[in-house]
Symmetry: C2
Subunit: 204 residues, 2 copies
């Protein structure tokens, strides 16, 4: 048995650094969601983790930089969900529905909620560009899934841009009203909303 | 012919006061929508009307009070639309669709946009209560229209609360993306979105 070194390897250091960064990000996103960007103090994020404010600066930067990393993380979750959906077998409508469910679930979770609740005006010019760029990718992913489903005849022909906005709007909104303390889980709410949007409210 | 008095009657004064109040409100709502609450300066609202900042205080109060009056005006437009829809003849689904169209149109207009874009955190405790109360009335109105339509069999049985949130979310979202400079009018976008939500995206 080799003796354990008290010194970390570069790989261990990197892993630990990333774990700390993630912990700060998760604490911050919860406080942003609860109070809004303007009312959030990094001091309170630090207190919630039992660390100092300079430690936050060290891992994530200033308040606007912390917010930007929160929304980027949320947007990346959405982009991954779209990539995963595109690779599923089956009809276009099945891939679309699968993405819509994940889209709704993410928007009811911490980072997705932060994406929805963050206005452009909270970010610097530079941050705003990055935020808009990633949002554009997500709009595009939704539209591609819709267009593919129109092509294979599994969804009704329509203006795919307007349908994408309609679906996104409906599934963004839970970021404002969903409560994990409510009767239904994220997954149940997502499933039911997607079903309502699929068949519409006029009897079939 | 009687000589015109240079002095206003109390009724004329009241009308003029209200016209001025409305003009300030409309100038303010546009700047709030463009820049967000925090970045808006009443000074700029005053400049856009060629008046002084104290004149704004005189008609509407401080910045938070101005914002509150903007969102109240938007919410009242929605409540009036619901009242009007409820009085229409025909089936429940027709009244619901009629309300949804107006709901979407209002949310693409100045005061409705301001309602959607205003977070609770911009308002004082007192203002927040009033804002939430009026929002509650609107949720309730949407739900009543849905329940009535389920009762007369003109819409498919479902969880009316979740359907109300789904429809509201879809039709709130244009407050974020609709541009009056685009190819379609408010009325066209509203009509098409309501049609998509009525029949769903799965082929019938």
């Amino acid at each position: 048995m080799t003796e354990t070194s008290p010194f970390q390897t570069p790989a261990q250091k990197q892993t630990e650094r990333e774990a700390k960064r993630q912990a700060v990000l998760r604490a911050a996103v919860r406080i942003f969601n609860e109070r809004g960007f303007h009312a959030t103090l990094l001091e309170d994020v630090a207190i919630s983790l039992g660390i100092s404010k300079p430690t936050i600066y060290h891992y994530l930067g200033n308040k606007e930089q912390v917010l930007l990393q929160c929304v980027i993380h949320g947007l990346e979750q959405l982009i991954q969900a779209a990539d995963a959906a595109r690779q599923e077998p089956g009809r276009g409508i099945d891939r679309l529905r699968s993405y819509l469910r994940r889209y709704a679930e993410i928007n009811m979770d911490d980072f997705g909620r932060c994406v929805i609740r963050t206005g452009d005006e909270a970010l610097s010019e530079e941050g705003r560009k990055q935020f808009r760029g990633l949002k554009g990718e997500i709009d595009h992913a939704m539209r591609t899934l819709i267009d593919d489903a129109i092509k294979d005849g599994s969804i009704a022909p329509c203006d795919s841009k307007l349908l994408a906005f309609t679906l996104a709007g409906a599934l963004n909104w839970p970021a404002r009203w969903f409560s994990p303390e409510g009767k239904q889980t994220r997954e149940e709410v997502a499933q039911q909303m997607v079903d309502l949007l699929t068949v519409g409210f006029a009897p079939r």
